[in-house]
Each structure stands twice: as C-alpha cells, then as structure tokens.
C-alpha cells in the first residue's frame, strides 16, 4: 500500500499534459522565489490631517509639504456670519502657514505659524506600527506631539490679569500629545481614535458660571475621526473631540470641536472642502478654544493649499 502514493504522483507526472504541467511548475517555482513583501496598508487617509485632527498619514520620506491652511469666519447669521460677511468669507478666523518634512518613512517634523495668538509651533509625528494587509498588525499607531509658543504682546497675553502676577516666558508655551490609532477597514472605510492630553502653562482664572469649575491647565481629550469613500475619488470626512474638561462641559462659550468635510481627488491633487466650529487650526488652539456652536450657525468654511516638493529623490 505504501508504494501506491508515490506511484500515483509518478502517474500524474507522466500521463498529464506535459506543457500544462510545466507551466504550473514554472509558476510554482516563481511563487517560491522570495521578493520584497508589499503588505503595508496604504492611504488610510489621504493627507496628514483628517480635517482638524491629525491623521496617521504623514509626509513621505524626503518630501517637504508647504501648506497654507485657511479657515474663514462663521457661516451662520446667528454667529456674526450671514450675508453681510458673505457667510464668513470676509473673515479669516485662522490662517496657518506650515512646512512639514519627512525625515524617514515613519518620522516627520513640522513647523508652522498661525494667525491666532501668533502661535509658532513645532511638531513631530512618529509612526510606530503600520497596519498590514495580512492583519498581523491590525491597525496603524502613531505618536503626535506639538508645542506652541505665542509671541503676542504682553499687554494682550495678560489682559485682565492682576499686575502683581509674575510674567514668565514659559507662560507662552502650550503642548498637546496624542496617540493616533487608525484602521482601514476596507477601501471605503477608515476610522481613527485619538486620545490625547493638552497642557497650557498659563491659563486665566476663569470659571464656568454653570458649574463653577475653573479653567484647567491640563485636560485630556478623545477624538474620533473617519473617512468614508462615497465614489472612487471622493470621500466624506469627519472628526470630533470630546474634552475631559469640567470647565468646558455645559459651558455657553466653549464647545467640542466637530468638523465635517468632503475630499475630492483629481489625480495628483486632493481637494478638501470642510466646515468646522473650531477657529484654530492647531491642537493647542482648537482643543481648548473652540468657542462657536454648530447649532447657532457657528461653523466656518475651511480649505488648504498644499504643495509637495521632493527634496531627496528616491533611488530609481
């Protein structure tokens, strides 16, 4: 009985269509050859931000992204928008000019300057885990951190503060660190969770009249964001942050940042049209200082212009 099996194999070999067998063998030999593995999931999001939130994407190695991010004024008449400002288009809530550079495929550095608070910022994004197609790594994990320095006039910075209060340069600094945890579930759905912590070295002594809570120097936040592809080249984007700040809960002047947008790809360019109740563009600004209410028409039209330069050409 034991000889039957090899005989069967032999039989298959000599009686089968030889050309066919050869062809299959050839393919098998080719399969056995090892080549580089292309198992990294790409394009979880299309750009380094979902809308307001950072995304797990970052500038590619050796490329420099020059970007002008613009956010107009409030659209709704109930929030100083309406026809007299052409639905906010006359205003510029915030403008940020930034440069981001990909040191490696997984580490990017950025600098920027915003209109609001004249914030100068430096940031980095570090991709620690990269989701793979075989699901051995089921999600992409990045660390993002930004520090800002505001050079605004002392009289402005300490407006309404007791003159005996000691002035320090450190008061001008604020920090946010976030963990970006994203998964591309399918070609049409990507979701991201973004837990983070924001610390401002200096806050004024303000109280929420509704719950008597004082403004905090530091508070945690949890963001959720996503991209839903609706056609081959357009997607709906959203991001939202819950702020673990008692001062900001049930506060008539502070709201959770919520942004909605669409993204259209035009073969080489990605267009973003978005609306957000946040004025600020960077984390240290829009997390603590989103002061418009969507329901009162307090959302702003936003767009950005990005130009990517290849600094270090890949080996061709």
């Amino acid at each position: 009985m034991r000889i039957l099996f090899p005989l069967l194999i032999l039989g298959a070999f000599v009686s089968g269509n030889p050309a066919r067998a050869q062809d299959n063998d050839l393919e098998k030999l080719l399969e056995e050859e090892s080549g580089p593995q292309f198992n990294k999931v790409f394009a979880t999001f299309k750009t380094s931000r979902i809308i307001s939130s950072q995304s797990v994407e970052q500038v590619k190695a050796g490329t420099l992204d020059f970007r002008v991010t613009h956010r107009f004024g409030n659209v709704g008449a109930g929030s100083a928008g309406g026809g007299h400002t052409l639905f906010g288009l006359d205003e510029a809530s915030d403008i940020r000019i930034s440069f981001d550079y990909g040191l490696t495929e997984n580490f990017a550095l950025g600098i920027g300057r915003s209109k609001r608070k004249e914030n100068l910022d430096g940031n980095f994004k570090w991709k620690i885990l990269h989701q793979t197609t075989d699901n051995k790594i089921p999600f992409t994990l990045s660390l993002f951190s930004v520090a800002t320095f505001t050079p605004m006039r002392e009289s402005q910075l300490y407006l309404g503060v007791d003159s005996t209060f000691e002035r320090k340069t450190a008061h001008r600094m604020a920090y946010t660190t976030q963990i970006l945890l994203a998964r591309k579930f399918s070609s049409w759905l990507s979701l991201q969770l973004t837990p983070g912590y924001t610390h401002r070295n200096f806050v004024k002594e303000d109280y929420n009249p509704n719950n008597q809570a004082a403004d905090e120097n530091g508070f945690a936040s949890l963001g959720i964001g996503g991209r839903i592809k609706i056609t081959k080249r357009s997607s709906i984007l959203f991001d939202y942050f819950h702020l673990f700040s008692k001062y900001r809960q049930n506060n008539d002047n502070f709201f959770a940042p919520l942004s909605l947008g669409i993204e259209i790809e035009t073969g080489g360019h990605v267009f973003h049209l978005n609306f957000s109740n946040s004025s600020g563009i960077i984390e240290n600004d829009f997390l603590p200082y989103t002061q418009s209410d969507w329901l009162a028409g307090g959302f702003k039209f936003g767009f950005n212009i990005s130009r990517v330069f290849t600094v270090v050409k890949p080996k061709m």
Binding site: P6, A19, Q22, D23, F38, F42, T266, G267, V308
Partner: protein
C-alpha cells in the same frame, strides 16, 4: 529492519524534475520594468526592480511577474495615487505576462534573436492576448531579454479621472530588461 524495495520511487518525480526540467529553467538575476507616460506638464516615469521572470527553455514557456507596489516614482504622492486609484494594487497586487516562445532557439550557443512572444498580459485584473516583441541575447550562459511595448489603459479598465489638472496619456510605454541565469531558488 526491512526496507521497502520501492521506496526509491518516492524520489522519482523529483529526480525526473531535476534531470529533465531544472537544467532548462532560468530565473532572474536582475530585472527592471519601467514605464513612461507623456503628459503636458511633466512626463511620468516609474521603475520596478523587484519583478521576477522565469523561463523554461525546453518548452519555451515564460512567465514574468511584476508587483505593482514595487514601482518607484520620483514623487511619493504620485506613487500613492498610482497604487490607490489607477492600479488598485490592494485588489490587484501583480501584473504578469505568460507566454510561449515558439521559434527554435539554440539556448546553448551565444546569439541574438528578434522575435515575438504570444501570451496573456494581465494588468489591473484584466487579461489580454498580446504578442510582445522581444530581443533575446544569449551570452556565456546568461540570457538577456529586452522588450518595449505599449499598454492602452482602457484595455485594462484603468480609468483616468475626469477632473485632472495634469492630463494623462491614454497609453503608457513599457520597457522591460531582464537577465536570466540557470535556476537557483532565491533564499529568503
């Protein structure tokens, strides 16, 4: 212990393969596939150096496998668009050509042959019957293969978005260069 007298039969298929087949199988020592597309603003070009060719000189069967994600562009963003939108390389990871050389070639002797190989070209999940012109050069036991041909995007259901700033040509020129040597499995 008694040995089964027929046990050697187990190795027979392997022996057959080794003696009749292996000597005539060639695989890639190096290979590059480049493509070129003319566009008004800038020409688009990419190179792939991780493609794998294999040839059986006894039967004339030839297979080339090109991993789409192995194409390197000068612009990283372009590379991503190429993979995500045009080639959908998560769905269709490889392009391939399977053909058969029918002309008589003396693989043992140095020489140059210009011929056409008929076969199936698979790109973006769509297979097309194609006849590709090749130049085969045999020298000192190494086989070099060169081929230039054109792929029409429409033939392979590759669509160009209507809203493009940079008009992309409907066809791309592909250049393939491979050096093949007697088969040896590439180690991981």
């Amino acid at each position: 212990m008694k040995t089964n007298p027929f046990k050697f039969l187990i190795f027979l298929p392997a022996i057959l393969l080794a003696t009749s087949g292996m000597g005539q199988i060639y695989n890639g020592k190096s290979m590059s596939v480049t493509f070129f597309s003319k566009a008004p603003l800038e020409d688009i070009t990419a190179i792939n150096k991780v493609s794998k060719p294999i040839l059986n000189t006894a039967t004339g069967d030839v297979i080339v496998k090109v991993p789409i994600q192995g194409f390197i562009f000068e612009k990283a963003l372009m590379q991503e668009h190429f993979n995500e939108n045009y080639m959908e390389s998560e769905k269709y990871p490889d392009a391939s050509f399977k053909g058969k050389i029918t002309e008589p070639i003396d693989w043992k002797k140095d020489g140059t042959y210009k011929l056409n190989i008929a076969g199936k070209l698979l790109v973006h999940g769509v297979e097309k019957d194609r006849t590709l012109p090749v130049v085969i050069t045999i020298k000192g036991g190494e086989i070099t293969v060169e081929s230039k041909f054109t792929i029409t995007l429409k033939d392979h259901n590759i669509t160009i978005p209507e809203l493009v700033f940079q008009k992309i040509a409907e066809t791309v020129d592909v250049t393939l260069n491979a050096t093949l040597v007697p088969y040896s499995p590439k180690k991981k």
